[in-house]
Symmetry: C2
Subunit: 464 residues, 2 copies
């Protein structure tokens, strides 16, 4: 499927108009543009022609209207913590920096929901909510913006218990490609009123519109939160423990696998002294009694598969340190080989195939003579490969690309998906086609219906 050449208007006329209207909310500096052309991945920066920082939905609408008029691409930007080149200005155009729109607009504590602007990060939101006894559970590791998490259908460690952004976004305000403003849904917990526009925009990676307000589900902070680690003789035993936990319906809040290589990297980077062995990081939420009951059930299962004793964390501070170590795996990988690049990728399979998928991938890593620790949200069947590659070594880079392709095709052959949570960006466009076949043409039809000029984050998710 060849890329159809899209002719965009020159940006200059649009930028002139933006500068006239928005003054110093517009930046043309090359260092700013460089920064906003790049996410956290190895994908090189592709700078936009300008960066505009709006303060309201109406300002976003004005910006998009100006860009639409001049037929210039629009790329929304949050914290830049995406991993598949989601934000590169592949066809130039205007980056909208959403980070000044970072307010909590409404807290409905009694309804367990909150309305926020897209620029607030998940940690800022939870800090804001702290005294209310409520929290927002979705935790992709990075302190991403809620807007970016929504646009990329983020999930992370807590998804096994609380779902992903798909399940936790109740409603959105969106600026469409022609500048119109819509609200996709109401605050009620469910609705059978018309097409599910909310879910259409969740995960659309900025290609259908700019998300300017998000209504999120919240949860009461559990009475008891306890964390533990447990080591296993091999990855297969650890994964089999996870599979049985899920099958038994134990509502574990977090169940994360970290392989041996990754544990060593964590110890070195985070100055921890975890045992270097395949490890499950666990967390239980509930009433005091129920958290204990869950932990006991899981400990029994782990013992069956040769798992060691649970090592409990004693308090909130220790717990945060434990999860920070888990979250810092990418930096830990980077530290293993500072001159190399980090290529973080993920797949997700039905849980019955997870042990097989991971062990085959580990064998493939070894056969490919590559350094690639594995960690994952295994309760969802989701795992990450952190390829540590010297991209200047063409042979090594070629081996890495071949390994990556085999891993994705292995996951697809097992009924899985090419990405559980990182998204498509432009890094996985061809795999989307491999995964969805004819359905990609339906996605293309939807894209062109809502954005006939292909100005919204063009070149991402699919080629139009």
């Amino acid at each position: 499927m060849a890329q159809q050449a899209y002719e965009y208007g020159p940006s200059q006329a649009a930028i002139d108009q933006l500068v006239t209207r928005f003054g110093d909310q517009v930046s043309l500096s090359s260092s700013v543009r460089e920064r906003f052309g790049k996410d956290e991945s190895f994908h090189p920066s592709v700078p936009p022609d300008a960066v505009v920082t709006p303060n309201s939905t109406e300002e976003v609408s004005e910006i998009v209207t100006i860009c639409a008029h001049h037929h210039v691409p629009v790329i929304p930007y949050g914290t830049g913590t995406a991993l598949e080149g989601h934000v590169g200005a592949l066809y130039g155009g205007v980056c909208i920096n959403m980070m000044e729109m970072n307010q909590v607009l409404e807290v409905h504590a009694e309804d367990l929901d909150v309305v926020v602007q897209p620029g607030i990060t998940r940690k800022q939101l939870n800090e804001y909510l702290r005294d209310s006894g409520l929290f927002f559970p979705i935790d992709p590791g990075a302190d991403a913006s809620i807007g970016g998490m929504t646009a990329c259908r983020a999930s992370g460690t807590n998804a096994v218990r609380y779902g992903t952004m798909r399940e936790n976004v109740l409603a959105l305000t969106v600026v469409l490609a022609d500048g119109r403003i819509i609200r996709t849904s109401r605050r009620s917990r469910k609705s059978a009123a018309g097409y599910d526009l909310t879910r259409l925009f969740v995960g659309s990676e900025g290609t259908l519109g700019v998300i300017t307000e998000i209504t999120l589900r919240l949860y009461g902070i559990p009475e008891a939160i306890t964390s533990a680690v447990c080591t296993f003789p091999d990855v297969e035993s650890a994964v089999n423990t996870v599979i049985m936990t899920i099958q038994y319906g134990i509502p574990v809040a977090r169940i994360e696998l970290v392989d041996e290589t990754q544990m060593e990297a964590i110890n070195n980077y985070s100055k921890t002294d975890f045992e270097v062995a395949p490890t499950l990081f666990l967390e239980f939420h509930g009433t005091e009694a129920y958290a204990v009951e869950q932990a006991e059930s899981l400990a029994e299962i782990a013992a069956e598969f040769g798992g060691g004793d649970f090592k409990w964390t004693a308090n909130a501070e220790e717990r945060n340190r434990l999860w920070q170590a888990r979250h810092d795996v990418a930096y830990a990988c980077k530290a293993m080989r500072p001159q190399a690049q980090i290529w973080a990728t993920d797949v997700c399979v039905p849980i019955s195939r997870l042990a097989e998928c991971i062990t085959e991938t580990q064998a493939d890593i070894k056969a490919s003579r590559l350094l690639a620790p594995i960690a994952g949200h295994v309760g969802d069947g989701n795992f990450h490969l952190c390829l540590i590659v010297d991209q200047d070594d063409t042979d090594e880079q070629a081996r890495a690309e071949a390994l990556h392709e085999r891993m994705v095709m292995r996951a697809l052959a097992m009924g899985g998906t090419c990405t559980g949570e990182h998204g498509i960006g432009y890094g996985k466009i061809d795999f989307l086609v491999a995964e969805h076949g004819e359905a990609v043409s339906v996605m293309r039809t939807l894209k062109l219906a809502l954005d006939p000029g292909n100005i919204m984050n063009p070149g991402k998710i699919l080629r139009v």
Copy 2:
């Protein structure tokens, strides 16, 4: 927004071609057509020109291709238990009876999912699964087909714990308006790969395509299931109990309100001897210990609001009788006044507004001199009004319509939706516009992008 006149081709040429291809899978009998032009509601039958009964996705694709070629409407049909005129052949055309496609195609017990054809009903599916220790929880009351439940985004009594069809459909096979067959997703629990086509078709009421296979999430049958009823001095106390239960995060499996009038109707119809008072029907799922813990917490809350003691059901048979009585409310209403029609409608509001919404509605019923019992899935903020109206009495009918409109507008003003689970059909098209405003034009754009000839269940959800 006026209905644009849509010119359809004459059905005869399409029917001739269908008869040639499908023989006695095609029915032209007027009694069959009459039956397939009607759902369970008061909306009159609008018969299709023919009813075709396919046996496979490929046959559905052939039928749709023939209809598309002749530009003839296509209306998929399940059990006909919809309530807003979802299946009337408003512009003639061909009804596709999906009920022969009723097989379980794959059970993945280890992944807690199942692949079914759309014609299997929820009770048939649970009967099939019984020995596996798994169940499918979504329970809209009627023994609806899984295809219909998917197309209408059904929910029901268990949604407060297990979510609705939105949360429990993992993937679909769909025949599009031009006969193409797509698969919307894989079996993995989550994915960030492209637009969420699954959720777009869930709730699309047959207007975007025909659903021919559904992959559903399953759950382990809980170790302990206990049911109880509890009466309250007034509806407000009962609803306040519900609100606090949800706010405390007690994962009650069912929490259903039945008002006084409805309780009397139930006793008369189901030969039960429940106390005639505002009542909560409750169910708890979990381990033995955890089910008890949930029930104790809820009993404490109920007592605070003046609720009576929990009356427990002793065994599965009694439990089924209890829930059957709850499910038969519409028939119980019908029996209250056999010469009248039943107009079942629903709204859903943020739970903090639920008591207010119900009590204002009750006052309105009284002031309108109407008979309209209330029951509802109150844990979701969702309740039903069962208007019992003599439609030949024009004054009474006018009062009912006015009451209905006020109820919907009241729910919308409280941040709610015009339907929590019944859907739009053609009964609530104007309320969809009142609810979504400009977003309805986006729905229209999507509809015409996927079905440019407007042949898929035309006249439902929106006017194109």
